[in-house]
């Protein structure tokens, strides 16, 4: 009886399983295969086996290390700030005040804005000549009338520009999850602590923080991975430029595969990045399963 119903459970997984096989497992195996081959679509659809040649080429490619380094810069510039913003906004949104549900909606809104739309708006707002940010700085006298700041075109500032846009665009997912964790903290605990004379800081430290800690770890891991593999934000803001300044892992895979059409070489570089992100993924899954058991 029990085994029959267990089988039903497995049957129900079949549709998702088949779709995942076709769209995740098969492509993954194909990319691994492709990374040991050369494929020139202009000549033919057939692959030519080249062994570990692609990987050997990576070692002498100056952009290989640069792209990975840039990805880590992007992660370091984005994820900690995402976390701080999300935590701060979630703490605010967890307070009782009029218009709280509207506030929660607004704070989640950047997730809804298509990344393409966001990039258009930001490329205008951060434009050196007529961008509204520079115009505001000129109005405040921080910038001379004819001076310009290329937030997205000056190679010294481009990371600040890109990360700033990424902060405002991609924090909502973390925010929602931290907010959900905050609202699961039992109110009685706070009241008891208040009676015992604990101030706001120690209430946060000894009640709030321990409760939301597991979620914070999960979110930080997920944030690191999502930023590391992100392609769209940077591609749409700078296309990896100026020069190679913001060419991250995702951008370089795209350039290699779909601009230079070195599909095999692009796949090899893709696999290297995949391995890096899988390390974080394993940590995430470990935490996730521990939480799910509780």
């Amino acid at each position: 009886m029990a085994s029959r119903s267990e089988r039903v459970g497995i049957y129900y997984q079949l549709p998702t399983f088949f779709v995942s096989m076709a769209l995740i497992i098969y492509p993954l195996l194909y990319v691994i295969y492709l990374s040991f081959n050369e494929l020139n679509l202009y000549v033919s659809m057939d692959t030519v086996f080249v062994g570990i040649n692609n990987y050997r080429m990576l070692l002498s490619d100056e952009h290989f290390v640069e792209a990975l380094t840039n990805s880590f810069i992007f992660v370091l510039g984005s994820t900690p700030m995402h976390f701080l913003l999300s935590l701060a906004f979630a703490l605010i949104a967890n307070e009782e005040f009029k218009g709280r549900s509207l506030y929660r909606g607004i704070m989640f809104a950047p997730w809804v804005m298509p990344i393409v739309v966001a990039s258009v708006i930001w490329r205008w707002m951060l434009h050196p000549d007529w961008g509204i940010y520079n115009n505001i700085f000129r109005l405040l006298g921080l910038l001379g009338g004819t001076q310009t700041i290329g937030w997205l075109t000056d190679s010294n500032l481009v990371w600040l520009g890109v990360c700033y846009v990424n902060w405002i665009k991609n924090y909502p997912f973390m925010f929602v999850n931290i907010l959900a964790a905050l609202s699961s903290v039992p109110v009685e605990l706070y009241e008891a602590a208040k009676i015992d004379g604990a101030n706001a800081i120690s209430r946060f430290r000894y009640i709030t923080l321990p409760t939301i800690k597991p979620v914070c770890y999960l979110m930080l891991l997920l944030g690191v991975i999502n930023t590391f593999i992100n392609f769209e934000v940077i591609w749409l803001l700078t296309e990896g430029g100026p020069g190679w300044a913001t060419t991250t892992y995702g951008i370089y895979v795209y350039i290699l595969s779909f601009q230079e059409w070195k599909l095999g070489y692009g796949a090899a570089f893709g696999i290297v990045g995949l391995i890096v992100s899988l390390i974080f993924a394993l940590l995430y899954i470990k935490y996730f399963m521990e939480l799910a058991k509780k």
Partner: protein, 291 residues
């Protein structure tokens, strides 16, 4: 009490500043879609001298004011076709994801103790960490072999695949909140399985279904990388790709028109979101941590 009022004031100040910061791109986009280009191309911050609907007329292909240099290209961007190209796959993929994940989500919630089911669940979760850009090559080659590049079928299939994993966990979280006893009680009271599912289970996880649909719909509507690779002509090109191309290809960008197009692209998802944000926020946070 005085301390309490100070506390409230600081809270409201934080609320106000953070909300303004988060929403200013939206507001400026909508505002400047009504401002003529000559006021946008300015090195000083001034209140616009006039407002115009030309940007919207340009997008929708209506006659524009005679002195606008872009009046000749009004309607040339194929807005209606691109909007349908965004809408149709988003809708179909959204429905398909809901239908498929009802089964796997239910199974993950109820049979999660089974080892096969549990490992499948982890497998779906792993998709979250795969660099999506890496998958574009196999997709491109796969669908080129079947001659499905620039075809809705390939786009919809990939959209479904990319939205399934998270959705399974979201539905599973909603199902696991419903006591098993309720299902058993219904069966004891003489419901058959179909009645139990239709009358008890589905209505109870309805918010979850709405959340999953919304999540998938918005993801597809906003998708950029997948259509960038898989669609090549206006036959399947969605709004997202159209906007990106407009911004790169046109020698001189027609900002009012571009902002109007951006506003029109954001409005449908934004409206849906305002009505249904509660479901979505609930669903998203459940999928991530509770399992």
């Amino acid at each position: 009490m005085k301390k309490d009022r100070l506390r409230r004031a600081i809270l409201y100040l934080c609320v106000f500043i953070s909300a303004i910061w988060v929403i200013h791109p939206f507001v400026l986009m909508a505002f400047y879609s009504f401002v003529p280009d000559k006021d946008i191309f300015s090195r000083t911050l001034v209140f616009p001298s006039s407002f115009t609907l030309d940007g919207y007329f340009w997008v929708l292909g209506l006659p524009m004011s005679p002195d606008n240099p872009f009046k000749g290209t009004s309607g040339s961007i194929n807005f209606y076709k691109a909007a349908m190209n965004s809408l149709i796959p988003a809708f179909i993929a959204g429905i398909a994801v809901v239908v498929i994940t009802i089964f796997s989500g239910y199974s993950l919630a109820r049979y999660g103790h089974n080892r096969v089911v549990r490992y499948l669940g982890i497998l779906y979760l792993a998709k979250q960490f795969l660099p999506w850009v890496l998958f574009m090559t196999p997709y491109y080659i796969m669908f080129a072999t079947f001659r499905l590049i620039d075809n809705f079928i390939s786009l919809i299939v990939v959209y479904i695949g990319s939205n399934l994993p998270w959705s399974v966990w979201m539905i599973s979280a909603f199902v696991s909140e419903i006591p098993v006893d309720l299902e058993e009680a219904a069966l004891v009271d003489g419901c058959n399985t179909r009645q139990m599912v239709l009358k008890i289970l589905l209505p109870m996880i309805a918010p979850g279904l709405v959340a999953v649909f919304l999540f998938a719909f918005t993801n597809v509507w906003n998708a950029y990388l997948i259509p960038l690779i898989l669609s090549s002509t206006i036959e399947t090109k969605p709004l997202a790709v159209l906007i990106a191309e407009l911004f790169t290809w046109y020698g001189r960008t027609y900002y009012s028109g571009l902002f109007a197009l951006c506003t029109l692209t954001t409005v449908p998802v934004a409206v849906m979101f305002v009505y249904l944000q509660k479901f979505l926020i609930r669903g998203l946070s459940r999928g991530a941590v509770k399992g």
